[in-house]
C-alpha cells in the first residue's frame, strides 16, 4: 500500500480517526505520519492530566525523545478527544499517564509506567542506550536476593526438563515442588526482597 499523503513511500502506519461518528482511515509512511503526529501533538492539550505542576519550560530532552518516539508512530499517535488509534487508549493504572503524554513530556509518571508501556519501551531504550536493553550494574541489596532466586528457578527448570526427558519422574516431582516453593517466596516478598 502506498502512503496516501505523499503517494511515494510505502504506507507502514495505519490508524483510524473517529470524529463526529465518521470513521476516517489513514495509511501513511513513517515520515508523513510523524508530520501529522506533530500537528496533532500541538493541539493535544493533556485532558484529564492537568498541567505540569511546576509550570516548568519544555524539557530539553523532549525534542530528542519525540524524535526517537516518532519512529514508533502507531503508539505515539496522540489519542485525544475523538481521535483514537486501533489500539485504543492505554493509561498507567497507577499514575494515569498515557503513552502520548509520555511522548510529549519525555518522562514517565511512576515506576509502574515501565511495565505499562513495556511494549513501546524496548525499541526506545535500545535507541537511547546504544543497543542495550538490560541493566548490568549495581543491584540494591533488597532486590539482590530476589534476582538470585530467579536465576536459581531458571536453573532448576532446565534441570527439570532433563529429568522429564530422561523419564526420571520421581526426581522431577521433587524439583517441581522446590520450584513452586521458590516462586511463592519471590512473589510473596516482591516488595521487600528476600
Amino acid at each position: 500500500m502506498i502512503c496516501q499523503e505523499c503517494n511515494q513511500r510505502d504506507a507502514t502506519v495505519h490508524f483510524t480517526k473517529i470524529l463526529n461518528n465518521t470513521k476516517q482511515e489513514f495509511h501513511l509512511c513513517e515520515s508523513c505520519a510523524r508530520e501529522k503526529g506533530d500537528v496533532m501533538m500541538k493541539s493535544f492539550g493533556s485532558p484529564g492530566f492537568g498541567t505540569n505542576p511546576f509550570g516548568e519550560p519544555a524539557f530539553s530532552f523532549q525534542n530528542l525523545l519525540s524524535g526517537l518516539l516518532g519512529f514508533e508512530t502507531q503508539g505515539a499517535t496522540p489519542m485525544s478527544k475523538g481521535i483514537q488509534t486501533q489500539q485504543g487508549p492505554k493509561r498507567c493504572a497507577t499514575c494515569g499517564l498515557s503513552y502520548p503524554q509520555f511522548a510529549q513530556l519525555g518522562r514517565f509518571g511512576c515506576a509502574d509506567c515501565y511495565t505499562t508501556f513495556e511494549n513501546h519501551l524496548e525499541p526506545l531504550v535500545r535507541r537511547i542506550h546504544g543497543g542495550a536493553t538490560a541493566h548490568t550494574g549495581k543491584v540494591p541489596q533488597r532486590a539482590g536476593g530476589r534476582i538470585k532466586i530467579k536465576k536459581q528457578i531458571e536453573e532448576l527448570r532446565a534441570e527439570l526438563q532433563q529429568k522429564i526427558s530422561a523419564e526420571r519422574f520421581e526426581e522431577a516431582a521433587v524439583l517441581r515442588d522446590r520450584i513452586h516453593e521458590l516462586e511463592r517466596g519471590v512473589q510473596g516478598n516482591s516488595g521487600e526482597g528476600v
Binding site: 518522562r107 511512576c110 515506576a111 519501551l121 531504550v125 537511547i128 541493566h135 550494574g137 543491584v139
Partner: protein
C-alpha cells in the same frame, strides 16, 4: 550549620587540589534514584512530595549517616532567591531544582562533597563533587552513600531495567559521571575540535561549561557518559577515565608545543591577561573567564609565579551574579556587577604575591 555557611565560602573542591589538577578542575558523579511506591516528582502531589522528603530526612538522620559527616537538610522554599542562585553557582544544586523550589530540597554534607537533591526530576539525585580527576573515589563515595540510603528507602528497581528513572535516558545505573577539564592549549592550537569530535563514538558527550552552543568561554569543557544502561558503573567510569587521560596527554603536549615553539606569543597573552585582571576597573563575566583561563595557563606553565592554582576555580564561582550579590549585600544592576567583579578579582589577586 545553616544556609549562610554554604553560600559564603568556597567549597572544599575549590580550595583543594586533586590528581591532575593542572588540567582537571573537578570530578562529579550524580546518581538518580526513586522510591518505589510514590509517583515521580512530575506527577506527585504535595503530600507525596512531602512523604519523599520525610523518608529522606529519616534516612539522613540515621546514626549510620552521622558517622560520615554532618548533614543539613534545606527545603528550597526556606532559601532566599539569591542563596538558591549561589547554590547553583557552586554546583550544589541544579537550575531545575530551583524551578521545583516549592517542593524541592537539598541535603548538604558540611564539606559539600556530598549532596542530595530531593524532588528534582527524580525523587533523589545524589551528587559527589571532588577536586581533580577522582572518578573511582567519587563513585566509591556515591556508592557508599547510596547503600546507606537504600538501607532505609525502598528504591524503584526493576530486574531488567535496573534503577527506574523519570526519564528513560537515565534508566539502568542512573549514573552521570562527568569531569571538568581546562584545555586552553588545545583551543589555542586549534586541535580541540579534532580531539573532542571522537568522543561521541565512545559514548561520551562534551559541552562548554560556560558560554552558549559550541563556544566554551574560559576553555572549560565538561565530558560525561551518555549511556546509563547495559554497562556497569565501573565500566562507565573506566571508559570516561581512560578517555580523559588521553585528553590530558594531548593537552600536555599542546602546552609543551606552545612553550617551545610559540613562547613569546603565549607569554605575551598570559602577561596581558594578568595585567588586566590585576588592574581593570570593569570586567564582564565572559572576559573574566577568558583572562582567568590565560592566567591559570600562565601558572601551570611557570610564567606566573606566586599565584594559587585554585584562583580559576574560586573566581569562576565567586564572580557569578549570585555570589557577587552576596558579597555586596544587596541587589546589583548589571553595570554595577562588572565594577564589583573587577574589584573582587583585584582583591583576590592581591592576596597572593604574583609576579611574572
Amino acid at each position: 550549620m545553616s544556609i549562610s555557611d554554604f553560600v559564603r565560602d568556597a567549597s572544599r573542591w575549590m580550595q583543594e587540589e586533586g590528581p591532575h589538577s593542572d588540567i582537571v578542575i573537578s570530578t562529579r558523579i550524580r546518581i538518580a534514584r526513586n522510591l518505589r511506591d510514590i509517583p515521580f516528582p512530575l506527577l506527585a502531589n504535595e503530600a507525596q512530595s512531602e512523604e519523599v522528603l520525610n523518608a529522606v530526612r529519616q534516612a539522613v538522620e540515621s546514626p549510620a549517616f552521622a558517622e560520615k559527616g554532618r548533614y543539613e537538610i534545606l527545603p528550597l522554599r526556606d532559601v532566599e532567591d539569591v542563596d538558591r542562585q549561589a547554590l547553583v553557582e557552586k554546583y550544589l544544586i541544579s537550575p531545575s531544582l530551583v524551578e521545583h523550589a516549592r517542593r524541592g530540597a537539598v541535603v548538604l554534607r558540611d564539606d559539600e562533597e556530598v549532596s542530595i537533591m530531593v524532588n528534582e526530576e527524580d525523587h533523589l539525585r545524589l551528587q559527589v563533587l571532588l577536586p581533580g580527576l577522582q572518578l573511582r573515589e567519587a563513585w566509591a563515595l556515591a556508592n557508599e552513600t547510596d547503600d546507606l540510603l537504600e538501607a532505609r528507602l525502598n528504591y524503584a528497581f526493576d530486574d531488567r531495567y535496573g534503577y527506574l528513572t523519570a526519564c528513560p535516558t537515565n534508566v539502568g545505573t542512573g549514573i552521570r559521571a562527568s569531569v571538568m577539564l581546562h584545555l586552553p592549549a588545545l583551543v589555542v592550537t586549534q586541535q580541540i575540535n579534532r580531539v573532542l569530535s571522537a568522543l561521541g563514538q565512545v559514548g561520551l558527550v562534551v559541552r562548554g561549561v560556560y558560554g552558549e552552543g559550541t563556544e566554551a568561554v574560559g576553555n572549560l569543557f565538561q565530558i560525561s557518559n551518555q549511556i546509563t544502561l547495559g554497562q556497569s558503573e565501573e565500566e562507565i567510569i573506566l571508559n570516561l577515565d581512560s578517555v580523559v587521560r588521553k585528553i590530558i596527554e594531548h593537552e600536555q603536549s599542546a602546552r609543551h608545543f606552545l612553550l617551545n615553539e610559540n613562547r613569546e606569543v603565549i607569554e605575551d597573552r598570559i602577561a596581558r591577561s594578568f595585567g588586566i585582571l590585576a588592574y581593570a576597573r570593569r570586567l564582564d563575566s565572559k572576559e573574566t573567564m577568558q583572562r582567568l583561563s590565560d592566567v591559570r595557563l600562565g601558572i601551570d606553565l611557570g610564567v606566573i609565579k606566586g599565584v594559587s592554582k585554585n584562583i580559576l576555580k574560586e573566581l569562576m564561582v565567586m564572580t557569578q551574579p549570585g555570589f557577587l550579590q552576596k558579597f555586596h549585600g544587596a541587589e546589583l544592576a548589571p553595570g554595577e556587577r562588572d565594577w564589583r567583579r573587577a574589584s573582587l578579582v583585584r582583591e583576590r589577586l592581591q592576596m597572593d604575591e604574583g609576579r611574572i
